[in-house]
C-alpha cells in the first residue's frame, strides 16, 4: 500500500511539472475479401496513447508515453486488449536511456531489414508483418563522430506465427507401410526467463563522407522458430503421429548497413550473418545464415519515387541437408497525383517465377482521416515460394482516423 501511494505521488508530481501532456490515438476498421470468397479480416481497432515531457529547459529532462491497444476481428474471433509500447526516456546530456516495452528500428533498407533484430514480428498476415513491442532497456550515446547504442532484452518474446492459411502443411517422408494418422499440437521450446537468456545488441553508427555506416552485433535468439518434427507411434500398428517441434536458436549476429546519397540516388544496403549455437537438448539447431539487401531510391522527375532492391538469402548446410540460396527483387513505387491521394505499388519477384504484387491507394478525406485500399496478389506455379500461397490473394479496405 505504501509503495502504491509513493508511486501515485511520484506520477502526480511528474504530471504536475510536465510541459505538455498529450492524449492521442487512432481508430481504424479493416475489411478484407480473399479470391476464394472468404473474409480474412473484419476488424475494428482502437489505439490510445498518453505522452508527455518533464522538465523546464529547452529540451525536456525526460519524456514518457504509453499506448493501449484494443481490437476485435470478427473474421477470426480474435480480440485484443494490451499495453503496446510504453516507455520512459531520461535525457542525460549526450546519453539517452529508455526503459519500457519498446520498438526500436535498426538498419537502413526498406521492407526487409536483416539487422533489425530487437523486436519480434507479428506475422499473422505476412505481407504486412509488423514489429511487436517487447521489454527492453535501450541506451544511446551521442559522441562527436559516432553514436553507440546498447539494447538489453531481459525476456525472450517470439514472433507470432503466420496464420494457418499462410503455413505449408508438413509432408514427412515415411518408411514403407507406415501411414500418418495425424499431427499433434505444436511442442514449443521457448527460452526460459533467466539471466543466461538475456539478449543484447550493440550498434555503432558513424558518418563517412555523406554515408551513414553502422555495425551491429546481437547476441540472443532467433525470434522465428526453427521447425523440426519427429514421429510418435499412433494408436494402431503402422500408424504414426507427427509431432512438430518449435525451437529458437541461440545466435550471434554480425551486421553491417549503410545509406548515402550518390548524385540523385539514395543507396542503401544491409547484411547480417547469423551464427547459430550448437543444438541444446530437445531442440535441433537451425543453420547459419546470411541475408543481404542492396538497393537504391530515385525520384523519377514528375513521376513516382522508386525503390529497387535485391534481397539475397543463404542458409548453410546442416544435419545432412544441403545449403539453400534465394534471390528476390523488390520494387516499390510511390506517387502522389494530388495532395490527397497516394498511389503505391509494391512488387516482390522471386527467381523461381513467383511473386507478390501489392497495388495500393490512400486517400485523405480530411485532417487525420484516410481511406486505404490494398490488393495482395500472390502468383506463381506449384512448389514456388509465393505460388503455393496464391489462394491468400486478397483485397483489404481500411478507414483510419488519427486524433
Amino acid at each position: 500500500m505504501r509503495r502504491l501511494i509513493i508511486l501515485s505521488l511520484t506520477l502526480i508530481a511528474s504530471l504536475a511539472t510536465s510541459q505538455a501532456v498529450q492524449l492521442g490515438g487512432q481508430a481504424a476498421v479493416t475489411f478484407g475479401v480473399a479470391v476464394d470468397g472468404t473474409l480474412p479480416v473484419a476488424a475494428a481497432e482502437a489505439v490510445l496513447t498518453l505522452s508527455g515531457e518533464v522538465g523546464s529547459g529547452f529540451f525536456p529532462d525526460a519524456s514518457y508515453s504509453a499506448t493501449i491497444l484494443a481490437g476485435y476481428d470478427a473474421a477470426t474471433g480474435d480480440s485484443t486488449l494490451e499495453l503496446d509500447e510504453a516507455r520512459v526516456t531520461a535525457y542525460l546530456g549526450d546519453f539517452e536511456l529508455t526503459a519500457g516495452k519498446l520498438r526500436r528500428a535498426w538498419g537502413s533498407t526498406d521492407g526487409v531489414n536483416p539487422v533489425d533484430l530487437l523486436n519480434p514480428r507479428d506475422m499473422r498476415f505476412p505481407p504486412e508483418a509488423y514489429k511487436v513491442a517487447v521489454p527492453m532497456l535501450h541506451g544511446i550515446y551521442y559522441a562527436d563522430d559516432v553514436n553507440i547504442e546498447l539494447a538489453l532484452l531481459p525476456m525472450f518474446v517470439p514472433s507470432t506465427l503466420p496464420g494457418p492459411a499462410w503455413r505449408q502443411a508438413p509432408a514427412p517422408e515415411l518408411p514403407p507401410g507406415v501411414t500418418l494418422a495425424g499431427i499433434l499440437p505444436l511442442e514449443e521450446h521457448r527460452p526460459a526467463a533467466e539471466l543466461s537468456n538475456v539478449q543484447f545488441g550493440l550498434r555503432a553508427t558513424m558518418q563517412l563522407s555523406r554515408f551513414d555506416v553502422s555495425a551491429t552485433y546481437f547476441r540472443g535468439f532467433r525470434s522465428e522458430p526453427t521447425i523440426n518434427a519427429r514421429l510418435e507411434p499412433g494408436a494402431a500398428p503402422g500408424q504414426v503421429l507427427l509431432q512438430p517441434v518449435l525451437s529458437y536458436d541461440r545466435v550471434n549476429v554480425l551486421g553491417l548497413d549503410f545509406s548515402g546519397v550518390v548524385g540523385d540516388v539514395v543507396l542503401r544496403g544491409e547484411a547480417a550473418y547469423t551464427i547459430a549455437d550448437a543444438p541444446t537438448a530437445g531442440a535441433a539447431a537451425g543453420s547459419d545464415s546470411l541475408q543481404a539487401v542492396l538497393g537504391g531510391e530515385y525520384l523519377i522527375p514528375g513521376g513516382p519515387r522508386t525503390v529497387l532492391q535485391a534481397i539475397y538469402d543463404y542458409t548453410a548446410p546442416t544435419n545432412g541437408s544441403s545449403s539453400t540460396s534465394t534471390l528476390k527483387f523488390m520494387t516499390a513505387l510511390i506517387y502522389e497525383p494530388t495532395n490527397r491521394t497516394q498511389v503505391d505499388l509494391g512488387w516482390v519477384q522471386s527467381l523461381d517465377g513467383s511473386g507478390l504484387l501489392m497495388p495500393g491507394l490512400t486517400y485523405s478525406f480530411a485532417d487525420g482521416v484516410r481511406g486505404e485500399a490494398t490488393a495482395y496478389v500472390l502468383y506463381g506455379g506449384s512448389g514456388t515460394e509465393f505460388g503455393d500461397l496464391s489462394e491468400n490473394s486478397q483485397l483489404r479496405l481500411s478507414l483510419v482516423y488519427d486524433f
Binding site: F58, Y142, R210, S259, Y298, N339, S364, D402
Partner: protein, 260 residues
C-alpha cells in the same frame, strides 16, 4: 484649325517632355543596374541570426477542400533549419532537417515516426512534395543566389525588378528557370514563378510583410500549382509566434533532435 493644330503640337510636345521626365525619374529611381547587383543587395539584406516560429500549412485542393498541418520551425541563418510537425496526429512527430555544410554541400534528412528511421533525400528528390503540400523540398529550403545565373528582364512600376534565374548545372534543381519579382523598397522577393519544360508550373506569392525587431519578414507564403495555366491546388504557409535572434541550443540541428 490653326489654333487647334498649334494646340495639338503643344500638347504633343508637353506629353513628350512628360514622358522624358518620367523616364529620367524612373531611371533615377532604379537603384540597381543589373540582376547581379540587385541579387547581391537581396542577399545582403539583414537576416536574423536565428528564427523560431510556429507555422500553419493549409493545403487547398481544386475542389476547395482543405488539409491543415501545424509545425514548429527553428533556423540558424540560412545554413541550418529544422521543422517538426505537431498536428494532425497522423503526421505529428515527423520532421525535416536541412543543413548547408561549410563546403557548400547540402544535407536533407526526413524523420518519419512510423518508420523509426531518419531518411536522406538525394538531390534528385528535391522536387518531391513536402509532406503532401504544393511546396517541394527544394521550395521549402529556399533559393541560394549562388546556385543561379541572373538576368534582369523587366523593371516594373515601383520599381519592382523582374529577374530570370537559371539554376547552375549540378545544383540538382528540378526547375529550368525561375522568374523572381523584387520590389526595390523591401528587397524581399514577393513573387516567384517556376518553369519546367517551358511551362509555368508553380507560382509563389509572398505577403504579410512586416517589421519585426528591425527585420523585414514575410508572414505568409502561398504556393500555387498550375496545369495548363489553371491553378489545380495551393498551399499557404503562415508564420506566427516569431522569435528572432534567440539563443538556440546547438543540439537542435541534429538527427538526434529530429528523432526526439
Amino acid at each position: 484649325m490653326t489654333l487647334s493644330l498649334a494646340r495639338t503640337a503643344y500638347t504633343t510636345r508637353l506629353a513628350t517632355l512628360l514622358v522624358l521626365a518620367l523616364l529620367i525619374a524612373t531611371a533615377n529611381a532604379q537603384q540597381y543596374r543589373d540582376a547581379d547587383e540587385l541579387m547581391a543587395a537581396v542577399n545582403a539584406r539583414p537576416e536574423p541570426a536565428t528564427t523560431e516560429a510556429t507555422l500553419s500549412m493549409t493545403i487547398t485542393t481544386a475542389g476547395g477542400q482543405t488539409l491543415t498541418r501545424e509545425l514548429q520551425m527553428w533556423a540558424e541563418g540560412t545554413d541550418a533549419r529544422v521543422m517538426k510537425f505537431t498536428a494532425p496526429a497522423d503526421i505529428a512527430g515527423s520532421g525535416f532537417l536541412n543543413l548547408t555544410h561549410a563546403d557548400g554541400a547540402e544535407e536533407k534528412l526526413v524523420y518519419l515516426p512510423a518508420l523509426g528511421r531518419v531518411r536522406r533525400i538525394a538531390g534528385g528528390q528535391q522536387g518531391d512534395a513536402f509532406f503532401g503540400s504544393d511546396f517541394s523540398y527544394e521550395d521549402i529550403t529556399g533559393i541560394e543566389p549562388d546556385d543561379y545565373t541572373h538576368e534582369l528582364i523587366e523593371v516594373r512600376e515601383g520599381p519592382t525588378y523582374v529577374v530570370a534565374a537559371v539554376p547552375l548545372p549540378g545544383t540538382g534543381s528540378v526547375y529550368e528557370r525561375l522568374v523572381i519579382s523584387v520590389p526595390e523598397a523591401t528587397l524581399v522577393p514577393v513573387q516567384v514563378e517556376y518553369y519546367q519544360g517551358g511551362e509555368l508550373v508553380k507560382t509563389l506569392t509572398v505577403s504579410g510583410l512586416t517589421e519585426v525587431d528591425g527585420y523585414t519578414l514575410a508572414l505568409e507564403r502561398r504556393m500555387e500549382t498550375l496545369r495548363g495555366g489553371q491553378v489545380t491546388s495551393y498551399t499557404v504557409i503562415a508564420q506566427r509566434a516569431v522569435k528572432l535572434d534567440q539563443e538556440l541550443p546547438t543540439d537542435l540541428f541534429t538527427e538526434r533532435f529530429l528523432r526526439r
